[in-house]
């Protein structure tokens, strides 16, 4: 808890760590929060969890890499030196120069600007598709894990069937069936990712379901939906969040792959995957054209993985 903590957060942490009678201030402050609603308190607690990452060097390196790309994506229109679609026919397949810091591609477009704009699509599509697959997977996993029996069998066998296909084949089948577009890329990734999430959530549910507080909810006659989403799900969130981080990495890979295969976003949208695929033909004359987008994908995925590792390390240490 070195940095980034509000005064109130410190009081609460002190109570946690020392396990002693709390300072009177904590009580008074708690009262104030209660009167103004509980949301402030909840956010503070969440921040507390996230700030644990600051103790992990690996996690911080990962976070820096991810934040770097997020900043670039947000400010791309401001900081990009050129229009990513503008073609300069006098500078085709050029190396780095004063005008084009990372060189140009086969159509004379600025590599740097295309990379910057490309991060926007990937950083929007990947999280959306992961959110969708986590939502779908969580629902199915909770259903199977909580009810068990025949329902569980049916759900899990269907998911097993989906998982039996090689992922790349699944992407190909889905995209070629529904056509390449941003929305369809999201649909494909959701469909392919959901079974893995479902399995994870199911196993977490099987564990949490046996706890006494779930029994207490049952003795209160709570509905199945309440028990699943209010009693069980919040206690499965730790591993689920870490898993989702890793999945964003996979999704970036998948979007890159689809772009490379020409099944991603239609040209001329700047897209890292399609940048690689187009520059590939000129790899002998202009190897940098392939290198930049490949490095971009790699750094973002590695950053996310390191971040997830750091989170896992810190969150398990607390338990």
């Amino acid at each position: 808890m070195k940095k980034g903590k509000g005064e109130t957060g410190k009081v609460e942490m002190a109570a946690t760590e020392t396990d002693t009678e709390p300072v009177a201030a904590a009580g008074a402050q708690g009262k104030a929060v209660r009167e103004t609603g509980q949301s402030g308190r909840g956010w503070r607690r969440r921040w507390e969890g996230i700030s644990a990452i600051t103790h992990s060097r690996v996690g911080m390196i990962g976070l820096t890499m991810v934040v770097f790309w997020i900043v670039i994506a947000i400010f791309a229109p401001v900081i990009a030196p050129h229009n990513p679609l503008a073609q300069d026919s006098s500078n085709i397949n050029q190396g780095p120069s004063r005008l084009y810091a990372l060189g140009t591609d086969h159509m004379g477009r600025d590599n740097l600007s295309r990379l910057m704009y490309g991060s926007r699509t990937i950083l929007v599509l990947a999280p959306i598709s992961v959110l969708a697959s986590v939502a779908l997977g969580t629902f199915l996993g909770l259903l199977g894990g909580y009810f068990g029996g025949v329902l569980d069998e049916v759900v899990m066998r269907i998911l097993d069937a989906v998982m039996a296909f090689p992922t790349i084949l699944l992407y190909l089948i889905i995209i070629s069936a529904i056509g390449p577009s941003a929305v369809n890329v999201v649909i494909a990734i959701t469909f392919v990712g959901a079974p893995g999430v479902a399995r994870l959530v199911r196993s977490l549910t099987l564990d949490v379901r046996t706890r006494d507080y779930v029994k207490a909810a049952e003795t209160r006659g709570e509905s199945a939906l309440h028990t699943m989403f209010v009693e069980i799900l919040p206690n499965a969130r730790g591993p689920l969040i870490i898993d989702a981080m890793l999945r964003v990495g996979y999704a970036i890979f998948a979007i890159g792959t689809l772009g490379f295969l020409g099944l991603g976003l239609p040209p001329p949208t700047p897209d890292w995957g399609s940048m690689i695929s187009q520059s590939r033909k000129f790899i002998w004359t202009n190897p940098l054209g392939v290198l930049w987008p490949a490095l971009a994908i790699a750094s973002l995925v590695v950053g996310l993985n390191l971040f997830a590792d750091g989170l896992r390390e810190e969150s398990t240490r607390y338990q």
């Binding site: 396990d19 207490a216 206690n235």
Partner: protein
């Protein structure tokens, strides 16, 4: 320390201090601990969880882990210091002369090796014995720890043995190398009371048979009284008192030890005639210790001096050490309960029994289908968890259910509350039929039946604040209008002696006792008629246990709540309950008023249970009755009387030598005043039994 003894002690710990390194700096887990253990002596270390007793043991065997280290003091083993030595040197000094036995035998045994192999391995590796010779020695050792059928046990895997047998194997393994010091860390805590009694007998005999010194670590005062001569009491990382068992139990000097003695119910005490005196406050965290005496914040005698100066361990009488500035004064003054407590002594008068019981269960049956061993077909088998149980709970009273683990007491309660589907029987609550699962019950009915759970760590949802969790039943049952929920929650928190400041805390910020109180608050929030308590205090430390029991009593007193109290600690159940039912293998064997159960006539099983309870009072003389064999499977219970396979009484007390017990289901014999015994032995014979417990004066 015991200078009158000429021989040097096996183990001599001097001013030992151990710290754990954490992210928040060094945590001094153990400070200034000194004690010695003589040859062939059993020396106990007692204390509540987190007091550092296991840390001392780990320090002795150098198992402190990566972040623990000894910061000061010496550990002399047979005269040589173990502190500051390298692994290699330690091996030379210690060799295989120190052995350790842990709480969970299943963790100590390798599940994929036969008992014989893993035992022999010790001898083959350490002693270089040949396989056959090693096996012989192992069988011999198993026999010495009173393992029946030792040769057969050698061929089995750990999971094929019962918990008691496993612990015997672990003890035998520890003794194989003929250790000079045997450290036992809560070796019987995971065992049932009758099994525990047998293992304790074994441990008590060990010093006699083997010339071994034993360091026995336990939280249970009764167990300690049974196995050892001298005892050291630890509190928050320091040794506060050290003397013989007699002295510590009868004339303790330190206020903490005195407090411990007052907060455990003695067997025979009940709620109408006595009151448990919990120690107020909570154990200080090792990260945040008081500057003076560590017990000062909780001590009734504390003075200025205690706040400022840390007391040293002083020898007050020969062999009796205590760490208290005011020890002599305290011993002289005697102790009076604080005013506020005496005024709250619940005057529990005998309630007139209403004609209709609140809960009436007749011939309850709960079976679980067991998977058939055959792949296809095969007759369907059932685990008969509860088989033909009838009970009545009177309004405002407590019904206790005692029995060993697996006897079906939890299943019975789950069936009543609707978490299990009953297989048969009639269930009537407030005149309403409740033989259906909770999902089919009316909300108003659900509200009247609530439950308190055993494990404080899982009773609360870790994701929500205390206030939210207590508020949930209030909102769900619409106990108060929704804008008054916070006020009502605070009222409940006050009633639990927790106070408003707990409203916004998360469960991980609470201690075990506090979590349990929140669990109780959640259960009583809907003001239910009947609260089912499934071992609500068995996972708590004794000083906390008393406070929680008092709280439950108060609730019952104020709200007239009826309670069904499951327990395995007979002293606690006796203290808390008006009526008691003893359960064995899915059936009740004895039912009656609490005082009637604890004196003759007994059911033979009740008699055995009572004689197995460890009693924290060296003056109490207990009859020695030990059950043989293991609890039979509920899949295939014995015919006739289910207890006949282990009954120690039937052959001597029945004219036909107990043949009838194997063939016929016993009758319920009425001993008057609602006391009924499920046994073939005639009441007159049962009445002639001697009481299990007698107090020596």
């Amino acid at each position: 320390m015991d200078s009158h003894k000429p021989q040097s002690p096996i183990l001599d710990v001097r001013n030992l201090a151990i710290s754990y390194e954490t992210r928040y700096g060094d945590v001094p887990a153990v400070r200034d601990v000194s004690f010695d253990i003589q040859r062939a002596e059993a020396h106990s270390v007692v204390g509540e969880s987190g007091c550092g007793k296991s840390t001392v043991a780990f320090g002795i065997v150098n198992f402190l882990g990566r972040n623990g280290r000894i910061v000061a003091g010496n550990i002399l083993f047979q005269g040589q210091d173990l502190v500051g030595r390298s692994e290699e040197e330690l091996r030379k000094i210690r060799g295989d002369r120190i052995a350790m036995v842990y709480q969970d035998p299943m963790q100590a045994l390798n599940p994929s090796m036969r008992i014989g192999e893993q035992m022999a391995e010790v001898l083959i590796v350490h002693r270089g014995l040949k396989k056959a010779a090693a096996a012989d020695k192992c069988v011999h050792m198993l026999e010495r720890v009173h393992m029946s059928d030792a040769a057969n046990v050698m061929r089995r895997y750990p999971h094929q043995l019962s918990g008691g047998q496993q612990q015997r194997v672990v003890i035998a393994m520890a003794l194989l190398n003929d250790p000079a010091l045997l450290i036992m860390d809560e070796p019987t805590t995971a065992l049932d009371v009758t099994v525990e009694a047998a293992v304790l007998d074994l441990i008590a005999g060990l010093q006699r048979d083997f010339d071994t010194a034993i360091m026995y670590i336990s939280h249970n005062l009764g167990v300690v009284a049974r196995v050892s001569r001298r005892v050291a009491v630890m509190y928050a990382g320091e040794l506060v008192e050290r003397a013989t068992v007699q002295e510590v139990y009868l004339t303790p000097y330190h206020p903490y030890t005195q407090g411990l003695m007052r907060c455990v119910p003695r067997l025979g005490q009940d709620k109408t005639s006595s009151y448990l005196h919990p120690i107020r406050g909570r154990v200080p965290s090792a990260k945040n210790l008081p500057p003076g005496c560590i017990f000062e914040p909780r001590c009734d005698y504390a003075r200025e001096q205690c706040r400022l100066k840390r007391p040293e361990l002083r020898e007050l009488e020969p062999g009796h050490w205590a760490r208290c500035h005011l020890a002599e004064e305290i011993a002289q003054a005697g102790w009076k309960p604080a005013e506020e407590l005496t005024s709250e002594l619940p005057a529990l008068a005998e309630r007139p029994q209403s004609a209709a019981p609140l809960l009436k269960v007749q011939h309850a049956k709960t079976y679980y289908p067991a998977p058939s061993k055959k792949l296809v077909g095969g007759a369907k088998q059932y685990v008969k968890a509860v088989d033909d149980v009838s009970l009545e709970a009177q309004k405002g009273q407590s019904l206790g259910i005692v029995g060993e683990s697996g006897c079906g007491k939890s299943t019975l309660v789950k069936t009543i509350i609707g978490m299990e589907k009953p297989t048969g029987g009639e269930y009537e609550f407030m005149g309403i039929d409740i033989s259906m699962p909770v999902s089919k019950r009316d909300l108003s009915l659900i509200r009247e039946l609530q439950m308190v759970f055993q494990n404080p760590d899982s009773t609360l949802n870790p994701s929500f604040t205390v206030g939210t969790q207590i508020g949930r039943p209030l909102r769900r049952f619409k106990v108060v209008p929704s804008n008054q929920v916070p006020t009502e929650v605070i009222r409940l928190l006050d009633m639990m002696r927790l106070g408003e400041r707990y409203y916004d805390r998360l469960p991980r910020q609470l201690s075990g006792g506090e979590k349990q109180r929140v669990g109780i608050a959640r259960a009583i929030a809907g003001r239910p008629e009947l609260v089912l308590c499934d071992e609500p205090v068995s996972a708590l430390d004794v000083s906390v246990q008393a406070a929680v029991l008092n709280l439950l009593l108060e609730i019952q007193h104020e709200m007239g709540t009826t309670m069904i109290f499951i327990g395995h600690d007979l002293s606690v159940v006796r203290f808390f309950c008006d009526q008691i039912a003893v359960m064995y293998l899915g059936q009740f064997v004895e039912v009656g008023p609490a005082d009637a159960i604890y004196s003759p006539p007994y059911h033979p099983y009740t008699e055995a249970l009572l004689s197995a309870v460890p009693i924290p009072d060296p003056r109490v003389e207990q009859k020695h009755i030990r059950l043989s064999g293991v609890v039979p499977s509920a899949l295939n219970p014995p015919s006739g009387c289910r207890f006949h396979t282990r009954c120690p009484r039937r052959s001597e007390m029945l004219s036909d030598g107990g043949k009838v017990c194997e063939a016929e289901v016993p009758p319920w014999q009425d001993a008057g005043n609602g006391h009924r015994i499920f046994c073939h032995i005639p009441l007159d014979r049962l009445r002639q039994m001697e009481p299990v417990l007698t107090i020596q004066v």
